[in-house]
């Protein structure tokens, strides 16, 4: 085992010498090369360091859905970016239950995972799950509330029925409170996955994900209104990347270059949504709705881009924003206190991947 790995490293180092030269000629912005060979984007030394990390297992949020932090790693794999930085990545589909992802990462079964947002990280850390957040993509809550177009004020929902997927998302609850709605007058019911309960009038409002149900209803030609928590000053975030703290301490370059390849793929997929979704479709063996997923991706990237705080780079974890979100969760009774954010967040990792606002690729 050891000898094979050494042999591989030596071989990779040899190719690197050549690749490294051509790489530096192209300069940091030379992202148009589709894919190089093994280790073409890192130095021999860094390549060896990354290979020492072994297989890096990444658990997605939900299957191969074209969401931010699912589609981009999938594309990075397909585009060969992980190979370029000498990472052996294995992407495992998640079930949609973020707590499971956090446990898998904390236990070391997986090294990295995507999880709904910073709020989920803080809840899991408060529950004793030891993970760290290294990147976050969107800076708005992913949840939304859908109503028929004749609702023009959220207070009109008093005395009606609200449908949710098991629990009312705290961001929606906060939005309703902020709008002055008396929540006790609203009947809450758990509904299935079918958003048409709203159109059929079985519920008067329905929670959902900005990048899913509204799209499904729009595709069916239904007219609905979406109410977004951020418009009521409710903080939130979407698509946070978590990492096993020990893995990060032992193999910092592997985590850095994973995110580097992911961010590069994100950029590529923004221009080539269909291509990336096709990559995901190829992985998905249990059925895939390509058209729907292209829309999911486009919606999410729009949310991510439009919510990027000024002066920050894509993926950057913002200490202040996370604290705001944490205090909001304390206020909503979700966690007893904001955990020590210096232990949870790794805010300087993503910025270190950029130079003058540009993602550093290849890595010197």
């Amino acid at each position: 085992m050891n000898t094979t790995r050494t042999a591989l490293a030596v071989g990779a180092a040899a190719t690197l010498l050549l690749a490294g030269c051509s790489g530096s000629e192209q300069g940091p912005a030379g992202g148009s090369t589709p894919t190089g060979s093994r280790g073409s984007a890192v130095s021999a030394e860094r390549c060896a360091q990354n290979e020492a990390a072994g297989t890096v297992t990444y658990v997605t949020g939900f299957q191969y859905q074209a969401s931010a932090s699912i589609l981009d790693p999938v594309a990075a794999q397909a585009l060969g970016y992980f190979d370029d930085v000498c990472l052996d990545v294995e992407i495992q589909p998640g079930t949609g239950q973020t707590a499971q992802n956090a446990q898998l990462v904390a236990s070391g079964t997986a090294q990295l995972s995507s999880i709904a947002g910073n709020g989920d990280v803080l809840v899991n850390v408060s529950n004793g799950v030891d993970v760290q957040a290294v990147a976050v993509f969107g800076h708005v809550p992913v949840a939304t509330l859908m109503t028929e177009p004749d609702v023009t004020d959220l207070r009109q929902l008093e005395g009606t029925t609200l449908g949710h997927k098991g629990a009312l998302p705290v961001t929606i609850e906060a939005m309703l409170r902020a709008a002055g709605v008396d929540l006790s007058t609203i009947t809450q019911v758990k509904v299935g996955y079918d958003p048409n309960v709203l159109v059929r009038g079985q519920v008067q409002s329905l929670t959902g994900y900005k990048s899913n149900e509204p799209l499904t209803l729009a595709a069916a030609g239904e007219q609905i209104t979406t109410w977004n928590p951020e418009d009521y000053g409710v903080p939130g975030s979407m698509a946070t990347t978590i990492v096993n703290p020990r893995f990060l301490a032992e193999h910092p370059t592997a985590v850095e270059d994973f995110l580097r390849a992911q961010l590069r793929a994100y950029d590529h997929c923004e221009q080539h949504a269909e291509e990336c979704v096709a990559d995901a479709a190829e992985l998905a063996r249990a059925g895939y709705d390509t058209e729907h997923n292209v829309q999911v991706w486009q919606t999410e990237t729009k949310l991510v881009d439009s919510s990027l705080p000024p002066g920050q780079v894509l993926g950057q974890v913002d200490d202040t924003a996370a604290r705001t979100e944490g205090e909001f969760l304390v206020q909503m009774g979700q966690i007893p206190a904001v955990p020590d954010l210096t232990q949870v967040l790794v805010p300087d990792l993503v910025p270190s991947l950029y130079a003058e606002g540009q993602l550093v690729w290849p890595v010197p």
Partner: protein, 257 residues
Amino acid sequence: MRRLARVAHPRTWLPTVLAVVVVGLLWTWVARDNPYVLPTLPSVGRQFLDQPDLYLANAWTTLQEALLGLLAGGVCAVLLAVVVGESGLVRRAVTPLAVVLNVTPVVAIAPALVVAFGFGLTPKVLVTGLITFFPVLMNTVTGLRSVDRHVLQVFRTVDASRLDVLVRLRFPSALPYLFAALRVVFPLSLVGAVVAEFAAAGAQSGLGTLISVASANSQLDRVFAAIACLALMGSLMLLLVTTFERRALAWHESQHR
């Protein structure tokens, strides 16, 4: 020959056919006005015709998980039942644990199983094994103890060994009980596999994964096509078990009608 004639007689097949037709009509009636409650039967059928490979491949994954789990759970249950049957000490030690295991919602521990055993087939097989374990254990224990007291006395007067009693008396006596358990756990193993795919990260394929993905995308016809696959698989399994049972238990009163 006589059985063939019996199958061909309308009295044998007519009730089944009628029931299917009635349910089909009811279904069509509901689906016509409520496309989001039930997909129409033709749209479900079209799913199979359009993508037979999708359903075959995913059914194969689920079947593998189900059968491997069943094998693991069943073999462990029978072995434990033998030990429990031979030793009261072990029985008293094991029974409460088995009950705890039985009331544990396996969905709840599936994530822990992934943590413990990785993303591969193992956690799904374990979930299925855990679900199928208890019915087999309980029935086999009961079956092994169901040996007629007088037969045991006859065997004891010739100093039959425990192994002789086990092999020549207890196993055959337990067979009807074991088959009763198998009729339950074969279809149950499919439920186990699907639940495992729902609950355990790393499910790349399988009908459970297919249902999960199709649900998230509101593809009702695909959800029901997968359910139809499961129903078909469950029925075939039951048919298989019953056929084997009829051959193996020709001597047993349950097979005389």
